[in-house]
Every structure is written in structure tokens, then in C-alpha cells.
């Protein structure tokens, strides 16, 4: 067996670990081992490629040094950010990893093009796609991370943005075709780089905060595809396989998120949530009266329930109230009350974000229930406690003709009684009134999520 065969076998082993590792993600019980298996496969693949290049005889001191310095610095920064990031900031970090992954893939194609003067048609096409997708991902993910960090959360639009995007796209396609046709001039590829970077910025700028789960998923899929293209450029199957896996994962999540928000991916990229419909109000919603409730009464209601479902939204995480809600749930459980959490797919700023935030607060994962799984249980629920969730509980979604029509919602209004902890009557991202709040079964507890929950805990203790 030659060294080359050994390297190929090791790469195959690595790829198999990726697939099995992802497979083990289908249950919280095995997910951690799955990730470790995937990391082990990665280690094997990296060692294999190091053996391969050191046997190739083309490595010299400079090349090793450049590689080692880059990898050490990058690795240290990556490890530090992974250890120190707050769980509420996960979406930003994932976005940044998307950015560097896509950026590295694009750089590979640029460096390869710079070095290799004779690219075949297939490889040239892959190079152009790699640069295009990689650069869009790089700049788009950086903007997404900045938005998530709160540097600017409002959608940014300016007149002529669409025209500029169109011109950039045209330039990228023209330069790309030139490269594929056999032109070999690094500046032509630089045009693709610049145009794609601009497209990425203009693509994410106008997208609103509520659409972020879709954007992150989409950029994740882009990164995977860019890496797969880098695999074509270098004729390396490990990159192609791993990139395709990530592309598939990102693609699935994008579709799931867009469905859960009742929007098409295209309309999100086009920007502006509910801009056309926000003026047309849901009829009748404003007419109902709102009943507010005192802390003590709310605590009584909870304590004498036999089944409680907590419906957390991003407002809960924003107020850092995860621990407070877990405390309340434990208190209720100690009294023999059945407590579970109903998690809407888009609760949070990235797919599944709310689950991680609650897991961090030591909520056991068997209490975290998915929308389709828990919706039938609202009928048998005494109190649904809605904290910081809005549009995903609006019964208006079941009727046509408004901004949330058709959106899958949690059937909170089917519970026997509903307590909503909310600071004000302000509307959610969809910009319409929530009919749940005027339901006769609903009582509003006007408070900050953390403060309100702490007071509820205190009140429930003395009941």
C-alpha cells in the first residue's frame, strides 16, 4: 500500500465520521458523542493531508511556517471565542464561522487560480463558483453577525440598492464567464471577488431581525457549497463530501425556517417583512378589551393548575430570564404540576436557539417540546404561560388576509387560561395586534420577563 492509498483511506474514514456524527445528532442522548466522532474524523483527515503534503516533497520551511502560523493564530482565536461566547450570542458566532469558512474557501480558489495557468473548463467553473459563493458568504455573514450583535438591527435600505445589486451581479457573471472561457488574469478574478463581496453586503443589509434564522441557515448552506467547490478546485474528495453535507444541512434548515415563518426564501432575500400589509389592520382585534392581572393572582392560577405549558420567545432570552423561568417551573413541579415548554421553530435568533438557551438554564431536554408535538396538548392545559413570544401565538394566523396568515402557530388560545408576561401591548415583528391578548381567557401580566418571573416565584412560594 502506498502512502497515497493510506491517505485516501484515512480521508474516507474522516468522511464516514462526519456522516455518522451528523446521524448521531438525531437524539440529545447521542449528539455529544456524535460531535466528538466528527471532530475525531476531522483530526484524522487533517493528519492524513499533512502526511500527504510532507511526502509530496514540495513543502519547504517557508510554506510550513506560513501554514503553521496561520493555523495556530486562527485556532487560538477560534478556541477562545468558542469558550467565551455567551449562549445568547451563538448566532453571531455561527455567522462568523460561516464568514471565515466561506472566506477560506474563496481564498483557496483565488490562490489556486493565481498559481495554475491551465485550468480545465470544469475546474475553472468550480473556481468561479467558489469565489462567487465564498465571497457572498464572507461579506454577508459579517453583516449578519453585526446585525445580530445589535450594531444595527433595523433593515437598511437605500434607493437604487436593487440596481446596484443587479450591476454587481452582471459584472460578476461577465468576469466569471471570462475566466471559464480561459482568460488568465488575476484582475478578472478580483472583479468577481469585489462584485460578490458587494452582493453579499447588499443582500443581508435590508433583511429584518426576525428573518435572521433563515439568513443564517442560508449562509450556512452557501458556506458548505463554497467548500465543496474548493474540493472541485483542488480535486479533493474530502472537501467535496464535507461541503455537500453542510450544504444539505443548511438547505434543509433554510426551508424549515422559511416554512415556520410562513415566508418564501426569495421574499426574505428581497427584504422587508410585512411592508405591504402592515397598514391593513386585522379587523376586530382592536375592539376587544385587555384584562391585566396582578402577580398574586397569576401565582394562584399557576399553583392550582395541574398542567402548565410555558411558551418562551426571544423576549425571554433578551431579558436573561431563562433561569427565572426554570426556577418557577421547578417550584410548580415540586407541587406535582406537569410543566413543559412549547418551542416554536423560530423562537430565538437561529434555528433551535431557544432550546440551547433553556438547556443552559438546566431545563431537562425531555421538557422541551416541538410545536407539532405539543399543539394537541393545549386543549388539556390549565395555564399557558406566554413569555416574550408574540406573533407565533397569534390565532389570526389561521385566517387569511393578514400579515401572519398561514404561519404555523402554537395553539396557545386552546388552553383553558392564558397568562402573558409582556412589557407593553407593542406588536411583534409582523406589526399586527395579537388577538390572543384580547381573548377573554387571557390575562396580561405587564412586566419585564425576568422581574415578573422572579415576583411570580416569590408569590408562588408563599401560596
Amino acid at each position: 500500500m502506498t502512502v497515497q492509498d493510506g491517505v485516501r483511506l484515512a480521508s474516507l474514514f474522516g468522511a464516514a465520521c462526519f456522516v455518522l456524527g451528523l446521524h448521531m445528532m438525531n437524539s440529545p442522548a447521542t449528539a455529544r458523542r456524535g460531535n466528538q466522532l466528527s471532530a475525531f474524523g476531522m483530526l484524522v483527515a487533517v493528519i492524513a493531508v499533512l502526511v500527504q503534503v510532507s511526502h509530496g516533497g514540495t513543502m519547504n520551511a517557508t510554506r510550513w511556517l506560513v501554514l503553521a502560523c496561520g493555523a495556530l493564530i486562527g485556532g487560538a482565536v477560534g478556541l477562545y471565542s468558542a469558550r467565551s461566547v455567551a449562549m445568547t450570542s451563538m448566532p453571531q458566532l455561527v455567522s462568523l464561522f460561516n464568514a471565515v469558512g466561506g472566506g477560506a474557501a474563496a481564498l483557496i480558489a483565488v490562490a489556486d487560480y493565481h498559481h495554475d495557468t491551465h485550468l480545465s473548463g470544469g475546474v475553472a467553473t468550480a473556481s468561479v463558483l467558489d469565489v462567487l459563493i465564498g465571497c457572498v458568504t464572507f461579506s454577508g455573514s459579517l453583516i449578519a453577525a453585526a446585525k445580530l450583535q445589535g450594531y444595527f438591527s433595523q433593515p437598511v435600505t437605500f434607493p437604487g440598492a436593487k440596481a446596484v445589486s443587479a450591476i454587481l451581479a452582471l459584472a460578476a457573471v461577465a468576469a466569471g464567464i471570462d475566466v471559464i472561457a480561459g482568460a488568465h488574469n488575476i484582475w478578472i478574478l478580483v472583479i468577481v471577488v469585489a462584485a460578490a463581496t458587494g452582493i453579499g453586503i447588499l443582500m443581508v443589509l435590508p433583511i429584518g431581525g426576525a428573518d435572521m434564522p433563515v439568513v443564517i441557515s442560508l449562509l450556512n448552506a452557501f458556506t458548505g457549497t463554497a467548500v465543496a467547490m474548493a474540493g472541485f478546485v483542488l480535486e479533493n474528495a474530502t472537501l467535496t463530501i464535507a461541503g455537500a453535507l453542510v450544504g444539505a444541512s443548511g438547505g434543509i434548515l433554510t426551508k424549515l425556517m422559511a416554512d415556520a415563518m410562513n415566508r418564501s426564501v426569495l421574499s426574505i432575500i428581497a427584504g422587508g417583512f410585512g411592508t405591504g400589509t402592515s397598514g391593513i389592520e386585522v379587523s376586530g382585534a382592536g375592539g376587544g378589551s385587555v384584562r391585566s392581572i396582578a402577580i398574586d393572582d397569576a401565582a394562584l392560577q399557576l399553583v392550582y393548575a395541574s398542567k402548565v405549558i410555558v411558551v418562551p420567545g426571544y423576549g425571554l432570552a433578551a431579558a436573561q430570564a431563562q433561569h427565572a423561568v426554570r426556577e418557577l417551573a421547578e417550584l410548580l413541579e415540586a407541587r406535582g404540576i406537569e410543566v413543559s415548554y412549547a418551542i416554536h421553530p423560530v423562537a430565538g435568533r437561529m434555528p433551535g436557539h431557544m432550546n440551547v438557551l433553556l438547556a443552559e438554564a438546566n431545563v431537562p431536554y425531555d421538557q422541551l417540546r416541538e410545536m407539532d408535538d405539543i399543539n394537541p396538548e393545549f386543549d388539556r392545559t390549565d395555564v399557558a404561560l406566554v413569555i416574550g413570544a408574540n406573533d407565533v401565538t397569534n390565532p389570526a394566523a389561521r385566517r387569511p388576509g393578514n400579515a401572519v396568515s398561514g404561519m404555523p402557530i402554537l395553539d396557545v388560545d386552546r388552553a383553558r387560561s392564558i397568562i402573558v408576561i409582556k412589557r407593553s401591548m407593542a406588536s411583534g415583528y409582523a406589526g399586527i395586534d395579537n388577538e390572543l391578548y384580547t381573548d377573554p381567557k387571557t390575562s396580561m401580566l405587564f412586566a419585564d420577563a425576568k422581574k415578573g418571573l422572579a415576583e411570580l416565584v416569590a408569590a408562588a412560594k408563599v401560596v
Binding site: V46, L67, G74, G75, G101, A111, T223, L245, M371
Partner: protein, 116 residues
């Protein structure tokens, strides 16, 4: 070079299908770790950077390799570390079956004296 472009395309298409098949079974509870885990997998781009480093030359080549190596390593190391950190937080309920058994034995006379 042996398999060529069509060979790569075959691998790409099959891997994509495997990915769809495996990932569509992941529950929504784990979507964030899934994305973060997939994120670390695209850190495999580091393998590409190693290959790249074996043939680049000139200042531009070295700078591009250096930046790509830093990006790739940050991606792969950070991705796996943060995914692990997240997944270790997912715990089961702390032995729910034992609680009712333990309680009466745990010295609460008023309860144990109750008629069933």
C-alpha cells in the same frame, strides 16, 4: 487527477443526498448544535489550505495561504469546541423515577404515615 471532474461531481451529488437523508431526521431541539456542528465540518476547508500551502509561492500566495489557514483553523477548532460546549448542556431530567421512591424514605413522617 484520476477521477476527474465527473468523478468529483458524482461524489458531490451522492454526499448531498446522504446529507439530506441524515439531517432531515434531526429534531428541532438540536437545530442549533446541528448547524454549529455542520459549521465545524466545513472547517474541513483547512485540509484544502494544507494542500494549497504545498504549491503556492510568492508574497501574494503566502499571504493568501496565511489568511486562509487562520480562517480555516478558527472555523474548525472554534466550531467543534462551541458545539461540544452546547451539547454538554443538554441533560436528561435528573433521574425522575427515583424521586417518589426516595422521598418517603427521606424522612418525611407525615407522608409515610398517610394511608394509601
Amino acid at each position: 487527477m484520476t477521477q476527474g471532474f465527473v468523478g468529483d461531481l458524482t461524489i458531490f451529488a451522492l454526499a448531498l443526498l446522504v446529507g439530506f437523508e441524515v439531517i432531515s431526521k434531526v429534531p428541532a431541539t438540536l437545530h442549533t448544535p446541528l448547524m454549529s456542528g455542520a459549521n465545524s465540518i466545513h472547517g474541513v476547508v483547512l485540509v484544502g489550505v494544507v494542500i494549497l500551502s504545498s504549491f503556492v509561492s510568492g508574497p501574494l500566495g503566502y499571504v493568501l495561504t496565511f489568511v486562509a489557514a487562520a480562517f480555516g483553523a478558527a472555523n474548525v477548532v472554534g466550531g467543534y469546541a462551541v458545539t461540544d460546549r452546547m451539547l454538554q448542556m443538554f441533560r436528561k431530567r435528573p433521574v425522575p423515577a427515583e424521586r417518589p421512591v426516595e422521598r418517603p424514605a427521606d424522612a418525611s413522617p407525615s407522608q409515610s404515615g398517610e394511608p394509601r
